[in-house]
């Protein structure tokens, strides 16, 4: 599997708090925009097409699960 889903966050709880905090004071439309921009920024940073496709596949499956 190209995508690494083993623990790789150096500061997991700090990251999680920052992610929620990124949305502080934003309305729903702004939050959607921020999320989309974050996805695009990180996708570009990763670059590898197979990794990105696999991540998207996992995300879609997760969304379709009950």
């Amino acid at each position: 599997m190209a995508l690494n889903t083993q623990p790789n966050l150096l500061r997991a709880d700090d990251f999680y708090e920052a992610l929620i905090d990124m949305h502080r004071g934003l309305d729903d439309a702004q939050s959607q925009s921020a999320n989309a921009q974050l996805i695009l920024l990180l996708a570009n940073h990763i670059g590898d097409h197979a990794v990105l496709l696999e991540a998207m596949r996992c995300a879609r499956e997760g969304a379709l699960e009950g």
């Binding site: 925009s33 989309a36 996805i39 695009l40 920024l41």
Partner: protein
Amino acid sequence: MSIDYQALSFEYRPCREQQTQRDTQPAQPAQQAQAAPYPVIVVGAGPVGLATAIDLAQQGVPVVLVDDDCSLSTGSRAICFSKRSLDIFDRLGCAQRMVDKGISWNVGKVFLKKDLVYTFNLQPEAGHHRPAFINLQQYYVEGFLLERAQELPNLEIRWKSKVVGVQQNGTPGAGDASVTLSVETPDGIYALRGRYVVAADGSRSPMRKMMGLDSKGVTFRDRFLIADVKMEADFPTERWFWFDPPFHPNQSVLLHRQPDNVWRIDFQLGWDADPVLEKTPGRVIPRVRALLGAEAKFELEWVSVYTFSCTRMERFRHGNVLFAGDAAHGVSPFGARGANSGVQDAENLAWKLAMVLGGGAPDALLDTYASEREFAADENIRNSTRSTDFITPKSPVSRVFRDAVLKLSRHHPFARQLANSGRLSVPAVLRDSPLNTADSDSFDGAMVPGAACVDAPVHMDGHPAWLLRQLGEQFTGVLFCDGRGVDQATRTALDALRAGPIPLKLVVVLDGDAPADARIGMRVVHDTEGLASTRYDAKPGTFYLIRPDQHVCARWRQLDADAVERAVARALCAQGGAATATASPNPNANANAVRAAH
């Protein structure tokens, strides 16, 4: 003296089939087809039909071109003609007039609100004869093509000749197969028979409908106001695209300059716009004023509201009828992949028909027209669809991402490559074509088998010239040499290729100022700037085999005449490693014999 091409009207004359019928059986309707079928009938005198007919006639194939009307196109149709189309028009003898009249451009700009977010240059390097694009109204392109067509004695154009019936005779692909068209004219209906018919009769293709066939795909839920506006304006000669500009909030606008001070402006209106109301001057003029300023002076030349689709026929070949241009496939205009891909269809088809009719290739070669151009159509549809989806996001979340890309583009270079206001037309690389011979030697660069040849500045007979003008129209061998010249073994191989069953045109590309060996007896060009050998990743001894349509067929690091002959045979779908048809030194001699002198 300038001609108003939109106002031209051409004369209808009864054709010889109608004369014969009138003379011999005046009371009978025209049921008899003529004695021998024409080699090719082209249906539709638009850019694609005209290009096909000219290319066939240039290659020695007599053509009858029928059109249901007697005039050229009017209003705002295709305007952006790509470098590849210009290179094809060069070979057809019309490009210079088009470039002289047209507006050349290479640069495009993309704006978000008031800010420039992205600039692209479609031809950043020098050393190409033709620009990335010219803007020229379709009626000029047709007018210039028509004037060229009228110079060719074996090209007959029949105006006010509407095809109302199609019947295929015999087993498609067999030597005696033909197609009978029922053609309606002001003097009644007559039968016109051809070995092959090219259906280039546009997006609504009556030929397609008569044969019970479809062009299927996706329609984009959006409407666009297309306005041709006559005005003097200072905008530079660049393609400008705005997302959400202040003068047209939440929608897109595209601006192109055309000749005669005509500007083409596309305003995205949204699906809920009223297409009838939006064409009225009361609606259009304020939109144009908002873009140009309240004081601007302009006239509306043409206004229409369009909805766009990307569609294609499943197969472009049906028996002995071959579909080309919009009749075969349609795209949304962002990217200029409509007329341009049709012109590429024409050049792909013409040499193959010429070869088959001349006995140099079996009928199966025409199947590769369909497969190669279906592949290209898919690429054009994919690109046009992606652009249109970016311009007209199909869902709320798609819109979120689209807007996110644009916002990121302001500050971050990576996002600019995602901003898609149109991926402008480039020729498809026919990488999987069965006509290619795969590289057995190692090569870098873009000139892979299946690629359209790239141009380079050269010198010939002491004068500046262009490499691309030396290639194509027939199979061409290109040998790269340095100062050591051509040794005897190579010269013997070249002579064999020149005199082979399908004779090759030979071009020798000499390094820089290397002296030309006058005894070589083939076209010699000097690669004075070294760009030919760079672009073709050539070393001394490198040999390229180029198809009549200027696509790379095969290439080697050393000339091996047998390998070249096998590659030619492969490119002709010939059996057994050499062209087996009874090819004469003039491959088109048979085509002339099919249609007896009249």
